[in-house]
């Protein structure tokens, strides 16, 4: 075998190994990205479940104040039920946003009830839920970053070729509902000065 033949064979061997290696790297990378999204969602789900466990306690504390707006409490509980019955990420995200909106309204309205605001249980629940909301916001951002990385990868060449072969589809982000972005309408009861 001549040196030239050996060199050509070497180029072909390493060339094909490089192509296979590169395709495998892309394939494994895409699988990892898909799994990252699942993991990021699971990490959100943990926080959402913790928040939904706290919600009935919050509602119960608020209900003890007879004049507290029942409509908001009912809305919060209905949204919670919708979350548990939701079977897709998009539906869960939607229900979760509704719960967030309702909680925001409850806390905003509580400003009108000094006794409720001073209630130790309420204060504890408020602190706990606020902490969970903060964690949720960060993990939602992390989830959206994961989805964004994945969506970019599966549309860019050469990953798009492998992604197409694998039948990968674009994922939806965990967006904030329009309702959640809106300011909470608070009717402040100002003391009367006579």
């Amino acid at each position: 075998m001549s040196v030239t033949t050996l060199a050509v064979l070497g180029v072909l061997l390493f060339g094909s190994a490089a192509v296979i290696g590169y395709l495998l790297t892309i394939y494994n990378g895409l699988i990892a990205l898909k799994e990252n999204i699942k993991k990021a969602w699971a990490n959100i789900d943990v926080i959402l479940k913790q928040r939904h466990d706290e919600l009935p306690k919050l509602v119960s504390v608020c209900e003890s104040y007879a004049e507290f707006e029942k409509g908001i409490l009912e809305r919060a509980m209905k949204a919670r039920e919708r979350y548990f019955s939701a079977d897709t990420v998009a539906k869960k995200a939607e229900a979760s946003a509704e719960v967030s909106g309702a909680i925001k309204s409850i806390f905003a309205l509580a400003e009108n009830y000094p006794q409720l605001k001073a209630n130790e249980n309420f204060m504890q629940l408020q602190a706990r839920i606020s902490h969970l909301e903060e964690s949720l916001a960060d993990r939602r951002e992390f989830y959206n970053d994961s989805v964004n990385n994945y969506n970019i990868r599966i549309q860019q060449l050469p990953d798009a070729i492998v992604a197409n072969f694998m039948g990968l589809k674009l994922e939806t982000m965990f967006s904030v509902a329009a309702e959640d972005r809106r300011d909470v309408d608070i009717k402040i009861r100002l003391p009367r000065f006579e």
Binding site: M1, V3, L6, A7, G10, V11, F14, G15, A17, A18, G21, Y22, T25, N28, G29, A32, L33, N36, K39, N43, V46, E134, S135, D138, R139, E141, F142, D145, S146, N149, Y150, R153
Partner: protein
């Protein structure tokens, strides 16, 4: 008949071919790490989830009294790694071969401004630093002339060193050593990618000491409750096997917790440490710089490796042209 020079070149070609194949595969590993860095979003320490491959960015926080002097440069730092290399001489050339590593064993804290911090044990991590490491060279006949800090670190870690001996080499031949120091300093911003624990399982048990083993064995022999508990065959006496098992079980409970692992503070939400063969990168470079350096390095290895391997094999084929 081939000349000596051709024979030497053939040995080099064989080594080059092997190195080329190694680089080729290493290049793909680096490409994988590069993509992983690009694909993993940055977590906030306070609210991020722990687990495998967590990425954080933050500044090193440390009290001034917790700083340690770097062994070569003497600068106060929070962490140092010391790479010990030996000069290997061949017929026509020489190269530095890494023979040992020493790491400062204290963890350091990284704060990303989220209201919590991460405790980092960088031992075994892939440390990427901008700039060249601090360097010190010494001959094995002259080890006592080393800086005091370096001498102290080598003495304290003498039992961990596999190849380097402070006593120097044999009297008839001298060796050249090189010490490369890489440090992280207080206030420096780091990029970290690795496995993060929540801090609950950080306390490890030390290996059972002989002293505690003996104390535990005595306890098992004298305490009726323990005797009854470990008497597996119910014959009323502890056989040697039963006694050993009892001593090990009781001895482990007598063991103090591993002093090397610092107790995490309530503010510490993540603990990074090397685990198995998983990726663990600690760098003072920005994420983009780490990605760029890995990109260059992987491309060079994926393309350069095969080129070297093919050239090496081609030379060997030419060298052996008349042999078969």
């Amino acid at each position: 008949m081939t000349s000596n020079r051709e024979g030497d070149l053939a040995v080099w070609a064989l080594m080059g071919a092997g190195m080329g194949v190694y680089w080729f595969f290493k290049g793909f590993r680096e490409l994988k790490v590069k993509r992983t860095i690009q694909d993993i979003p940055t977590s906030r320490i306070a609210t991020g989830a722990v687990g495998s491959l967590v990425e954080i960015k933050g500044a090193i926080v440390c009290e001034p009294d917790q700083l340690v002097p770097a062994p070569v440069s003497g600068f106060p730092c929070v962490f140092y790694s010391l790479e010990i290399q030996k000069l290997v001489r061949t017929k026509n050339s020489s190269y530095w071969k890494t023979i040992d590593w020493i790491y400062s064993d204290k963890g350091f804290r990284v704060d990303d401004g989220s209201g919590a911090d991460a405790l980092v044990y960088a031992e075994g991590a892939e440390i990427k630093r901008q700039g060249d490491p601090a360097e010190y060279r010494v001959n094995s006949r002259d080890l006592s002339s080393m800086p005091q800090g370096l001498l102290l670190v080598l003495t304290l870690n003498a039992n961990k060193l596999r190849s380097f001996k402070l006593s120097g080499s044999s009297w008839w031949r001298s060796e050249e050593y090189r010490f490369l120091e890489r440090c992280f300093y207080r206030g420096e911003t780091l990029y970290i990618l690795g496995n993060a624990d929540s801090g609950i399982k950080v306390e490890k048990r030390r290996k059972l000491s002989f002293k505690n083993f003996l104390a535990a064995r005595k306890m098992a022999e004298t305490d009726p409750a323990l005797r009854k508990k470990f008497d597996a065959n119910r014959d009323g006496v502890l056989d040697p096997e039963e006694l050993e098992r009892a001593a090990k079980t009781v001895g482990e409970q007598l063991q103090p917790r591993d002093g090397r692992v610092e107790k995490p503070l309530p503010k510490t939400k993540m603990i990074f440490r090397k685990q198995d063969a998983r990726t663990f990168i600690v760098s003072n470079m920005k994420e983009e710089q780490v990605v760029a350096s890995l990109g260059w390095s992987s491309s060079l290895k994926i393309f350069g490796g095969p080129a070297l391997a093919i050239a090496g094999m081609a030379y060997i084929a030419w060298f052996l042209r008349g042999a078969f």
